[in-house]
Amino acid sequence: MKKTYHTVNSRVPRVDARAKATGEARYAADLAMPGMLYGALLQSSLPHARILNIDVSRAKMLSGVKDIVTAKEAGTVKYGVSPARYDETVFCADRVRYVGDEIAAVAARDPETAQEAASLIRVEYEPLPALLDIDSAMSDGAVLIHDDFPGNIGAEVHQEFGDVEEAFKGCDIVRTDRFVNKRQDGGFLEPQACVAQYAEGHLTVWSSTQSVHYVQRSLSMVLGIPIGKVRVIKPYVGGGFGPKAAVNTIELAASLMSMRTGRPVKMVFSREQVFMHSRARHQFVHELTTGVKKDGTIVALKNTCHLDGGAYSSFGIATIYYAGSLLGAPYKLANMKYDGYRIYTNKPACGAQRGHGGVAARAAFEQQLDIIAHELGMDPVEFRLKNIMKTGDVTCNDFNMSSLGMKECLDAVRDGSGWTEKKGKLPKGKGIGVACGFFVSGAGYPIYRSETFHSTATIRLSEDGGGANLYTAAAEIGQGSDTILSQIAAEALGVAFGDVKIYSGDTDFGIDLGAYSSRQTLMSGHAVKAAAEDVKRQVLEVLSDELNVPRDDMDIENGIVIFATGRPDFSAVRSAYAKEHRGWVQSSLPEGLTFKEAARLAFLKRGVIVGNGAYKPGELGGKYKGAAVGTSPAYGCSAQVVEVSVDMGTGRVTVDSMTDAHDCGFAINRTNVEGQMQGSLSMGLGEALFEEVKFDGGGRVINASLGEYRIPTSLDMPNVRTIIIESNEPNGPFGAKEVGEGAIMPTIPAILNAIYDATGVRMNELPVTSERLYTAIKNKVK
């Protein structure tokens, strides 16, 4: 029997919607403080050079300049995302590694003065060879971008599960394909911004970030301030998608200059600086060899990947693992070999972006599976269904599919799109394609090695129980976590949604690793649910003593105390409550005992009722090197069918329709789940058809604007038919798991497979621009 819920699995409007609809919501760039200074950066104009001298004397003389900092002032403590690859310093001491690498910062009375001062700093360079792509960086005798990494290989991974070469011998089809995507930009609408304020030994930073916790730790480590004296607060954030998941230079520089001047310092990225900072999607070059039996059984996969990492590691140490491990499902695959190489180049560092590490691999693999299905004469949906994993299956790389509605997703998009009626029956220039994917529901381990809880939550009741304040460091960045967590708290505590008030995104509110790896609903959700249950337990304990009813015979639902058997006499509790509120105009109380009355009693007996919750996943995955990356307490999965029209004369692709089914375990908020699905598909469509960060020969981004780096507009996106699949994840709060990133996985290959269906052409390079597709169509005709 399905349980009845009051708040979860609904379509309650977001808790932050009104503030955002009225313009009242304040983002980091909207903040101002008395005496605040404005910072500006000096960034390298060369892609690779030694710094011979930095002369700040002219900048210092400019009226209104309050501080100038370089590596001399900032020191050279190495930081980064993963301790295994701390390869950045706040400012470059002796060498710049990409156009945009930070050399100095200025704080001044207004932004113009700061900019001007930065431009007056003279840097003497000795240019070094610029290595702008994987091949030149790996070539014999290439200069080393980081001295400790020969061949400019910043990280490499070699894994084998089963025996791939042996398995290929028994296959009827073994084919190899090469696939390459392009560097993508996050394209979030709000450029990074922050305000730092240092006073009396305490540093407070308001920043546009996905993880207050990681920023706090980095600031503490690099600036040498005890972690307890660093507070990071996330105001409203205008999207992140990955690139805002780690500390950035302006957070460090503004903090440093605030410490030195004693005044608040604000720094804001220009859109061009967003592109130069990047930390977004890598370029991946995949070579996949897949072996299949003639009955359609997938037997083995060999995956070699080179990642163009840019000048620093950022999240790349995780990215490189994901680019292999995320092909372990959703198809049964007994043999899988992966060789990955992340290469340093003289370009902005790449990092995490929605579908971290797995998006290009998934596109390559799902297109190859489509080719193989055609070679076998099998319907691509049937071919996938034949190999599909189900709940309880464990991948060859030890990922446990504790719930997996993959078949349900595929069935749903086949039936929802009219696949059977359309596949193979569309006119030339029209095509239909299908693909699947899966993704983690929260990384199984923190990015730094630690036994830490991944999420904590605290709920504090008001003295009359009429309000439950929820405190969490989880990061609402637009994905909806404030709403989801409020819903979970209300449901678990048994009160109305409107009685919960959330305070989030602040390191003073607890520990939360933040909004990345699709982890907030499952992990922060668990912590919040536990905190709510703790509060409920305490209130019921007091009530139990008062009424002489065993605690476990009572519950709270919808603001009313429920008794398992009979109804005890609670008139004393009720009259005490009334006495405490003399003069109040009391609305008539319901027949049953209210939570407020019980909570008031608990307060009188015990003081403020505070409930705590904490979550960590425990040990997950295998024992091999790198086994941690890709482990998760749960995995979301999805299938998509896309229809396209291709103008055969110009190569222009129009996406006509998209049908998407996603297994999110249990939809805490159905509107939000659909919103995540639609947004994911939009980002995937952009990467498939037009997004590409381009560089000139001098390592400069030549399309560092949202006009020339085109993201989808309202005219590019069709309406998406969204189908929510709920497989009831045993490791998720109320059965919930991810939707934020997994939904992007099938988009690119579904589009590519539809383009093939329309044109007979396979595209192995993204984005599929008109020019690229037109040329491919022409070459095929020849």
């Binding site: 379509r11 409007p13 977001r14 932050d16 919607a17 009104r18 503030a19 955002k20 609809a21 009225t22 313009g23 009242e24 919501a25 304040r26 983002y27 760039a29 909207d30 996050g186 394209g187 979030f188 609408l189 709000e190 450029p191 409203y236 954030v237 205008g238 999207g239 998608f241 220009s270 859109r271 960045i477 637009g478 994905q479 909806g480 509107t671 939000n672 659909e674 919103g675 639609q678 947004g679 994911s680 598909l681 939009s682 980002m683 604007s705 949202l706 006009g707 993201i711 989808p712 507009t713 309202s714 005219l715 996106m717 309406n719 998406v720």
Partner: protein, 163 residues
């Protein structure tokens, strides 16, 4: 040298001395404290800074404050009356058209302007009207649905008012 301008913003007239190179976006934000106007790019690509100037949506980062001299400007703070939301704002909230919210003020203003000029737009007309405003979160679908929902709210509201 600063120039004196007179601008009516959300029905209130302001006289201000501004630098000739100050943009309208910055004037609204820093001069008048109207931070609902967002800056996403500063060069007219993203539409986050959209305001209504003399009845037309404009990217306020591409308009100089001195160009707005004598104009009537409506920003997001001027939408809705006396704490009551405009039907477009209500529809955005109900339809789930808001995620990160950074594009929302611009989107709402474009939608309000569209419905004033075309009370019953087709889906394609809505998409055309919104095409200068970028959103990275929603895939636009729920924004389009919200505008359609607002259109029927307004039409129904007016009909109710006629009775």
């Amino acid at each position: 040298m600063k120039k004196i301008i007179t601008v009516t913003v959300n029905g209130t007239e302001y006289e201000s001395a501004v630098n000739p190179n100050m943009t309208l976006a910055r004037f609204l934000r820093e001069g008048l404290g109207l931070f609902g106007t967002k800056e996403g790019c500063g060069v007219g690509d993203c539409g986050a800074c959209t305001v209504i100037m003399d009845g037309q949506p404009v990217n306020s980062c591409l308009v100089l404050a001195v160009e707005a001299n004598g104009s009537a400007i409506v920003t997001i703070e001027g939408i809705g009356e006396g704490g009551k939301l405009h039907p477009v704002q209500e529809a955005f909230i109900e339809a789930g058209a808001i995620q990160c919210g950074f594009c929302t003020p611009g989107m709402v203003l474009v939608a309000v302007n569209l419905l004033e000029n075309n009370p019953s737009p087709t889906e394609n007309e809505v998409r055309q009207a919104l095409s200068g405003n970028l959103c990275r979160c929603t895939g636009y679908q729920k924004i389009v649905e919200a505008v359609e929902r607002a259109a029927s709210k307004i039409v129904c509201g007016e009909r109710a008012g006629e009775l």
